[in-house]
């Protein structure tokens, strides 16, 4: 009995958020069985869910370190654009992908420098970066999309956007990525250091954690994952849009906080963030399936975000 209680306490957040997910799915299935008992609904969600999972899992590192990164929607767009331009010029998509990952990481590095060396608030500086980069994309592309129809039959497309049976392969990539994140966050020295910095930066420094280096690394990771997501999103329709990534800001933050990672830093849960991404992905489909307009999506994401933060207060999560 005691053991069972301990298990429950240890996994309280995971159990809680998973329950929310199961209840939500039950409601969807009961309310709209023709949509939610059909595998097609799931495959549709899974196509875009891959990018969300990658972004949410990485954002947990940033939030646990006590910072925020609001620039990732534009880094997604920026990397997608770089990818599109290079592929369009005839270069191999594999090389274009590597360049996109590299440049995304560079933007993350810049964010990290601004936060650690220049000591700017990450909340404001990454928000500025978000507008700066999006503006740059708009200026350079004139707001015009770049269609890449020839990608459809390439090996690259098969590897990163094909299907295994009915399952979109993005799901495998993103689950694989998330498992690595989970291992690093929970089992690796780096994940520990990220959390110690978010818990008490002075303590972390006094015990030998290389604070600036670790913080910069989390921003680099965020830039890297944004680039990964950007290329994945481009492959869904084989087209680059200058607005690529814009819808993800609230979605990813809501997934992370709904998943049980508190805003004040020091702790976090990768598993929770993944379930959070699932919940929000299905809510989107649920909204569409019940015939509501896209306006409701924003409304619900915002509502969920606030409810999640309120629930942290009552979930036995303590601010230090």
């Amino acid at each position: 009995m005691k053991l069972r209680i301990e298990f429950f306490n240890k996994y309280k957040i995971s159990i809680g958020v998973t329950s929310v997910f199961l209840i939500l799915m039950s409601i969807f299935i009961i309310a709209n069985p023709s949509v939610f008992l059909n595998y097609r609904a799931y495959m549709a969600v899974f196509t875009t869910l891959g990018a969300s999972i990658i972004l949410a899992a990485t954002m947990v590192f940033v939030v646990a370190s006590g910072e925020l990164d609001l620039s990732f929607p534009s880094v997604i767009g920026f990397s997608a654009w770089i990818f599109a331009v290079i592929v369009k010029s005839g270069v191999s998509p594999f090389i274009a992908f590597l360049v996109a990952l590299f440049l995304g990481s560079i933007v993350g590095f810049l964010n990290g420098i601004l936060v650690t060396k220049v000591q700017l608030s990450s909340l404001v500086s990454t928000l500025g970066m978000n507008f700066l980069i999006r503006g740059l994309i708009m200026i350079l592309t004139d707001g015009i999309a770049i269609p890449l129809p020839f990608l459809r039959d390439t090996l690259f497309h098969t590897i990163f956007a094909g299907r295994i049976g009915q399952l979109p392969i993005q799901m495998l990539w993103s689950i694989g990525y998330a498992v690595i994140c989970w291992l690093i966050f929970n089992r690796h020295r780096f994940g520990g250091h990220v959390c110690y910095i978010g818990d008490n930066v002075t303590s972390a420094r006094e015990m030998g954690v290389r604070v600036e280096r670790v913080k910069i690394a989390t921003f680099v990771l965020m830039g890297f994952s944004s680039a990964f997501a950007g290329v994945m999103l481009t492959l869904i329709n084989n087209s680059f849009w200058p607005t690529t990534g814009e819808g993800y800001l609230l979605l990813i933050l809501a997934a992370v906080f709904l998943g049980g990672t508190p805003t004040w830093g020091g702790i976090g849960t990768i598993f929770g963030a993944i379930i959070g991404a699932f919940i929000l992905g299905f809510i989107e489909t649920g909204i569409v399936a019940s015939g509501l307009t896209g306006f409701y999506k924003q409304f619900f994401y915002g509502l969920i975000l606030i409810l999640a933060l309120i629930s942290h207060r009552y979930a036995g999560l303590k601010r230090k």
Partner: protein
Amino acid sequence: MGENNYLMKAINISKFFRYVEVLKNVNFEVGFNEIVGLVGDNGAGKSTLIKILTGVHNADSGELYWKGEKIANHSVPQARDMGIVTVFQDKALVEQHPIWRNIFMGKEITDTIGFINIKKEKEETEKLMKEIMGFTSSTITPDTTLGNMSGGEKQGVAISRALYFDADLIILDEPTTGLSLSETKKVLSFVERIKNTGKACIFITHNLFHVYAVADRIVVMDRGKIVGNFFMGQISLEELEKKMLEITGTGDAEHFGVYSGRKINPGGLNGTR
């Protein structure tokens, strides 16, 4: 005297915080197997000095020597690897994390690519808790979150952590603040044990009675400078008290175990000496 005669030596250390010179050409040394008491007013610069020795801060000028060798690019990991452990004044704990995480923070037991051996760390923590901390109650386990523990228990974790890692120099920055009398006694006997095992210690405190009981030498700091250096055999507690009054010139009662007008009973701790 060369640098070789000391375990650690700091020469001409200066440190600014913005435009305030917090340390002014400080020379400080610890001998092999020497217990140095470091005393002085709040804000004298004691913590800043030991943070320079431990690599938390970089000095703006001056040199550090360890066992006769000059230290280049000092850092906390380097200090820990050399064999300096520190109980910082703020305890340096992370409160949302369990005891075992706190013990190994910054010096984790990992495989070659950095993955933590969690099982080993928990086992070592459990041993440490039984043998050193004297935690026998089953309500506190290696998995207990720091934030759920009392101030004394947290200090116990901070001190045990220092004991766990084998060191040549143990630095204690006001380790007895906020502790009960019996807990304070434990800390003082710990300092004596350091002495008996042949190691060196820098013991920072406000309380002259505490430091007089265990130190070989007492160094007095005032407003960023070293202003006194007394070997224990040569001076009585009464003389020391008088000297302290002359040096700090403020007649600040804090040095004598009196806090905010309330006399702390020195009798509990060698007060009769």
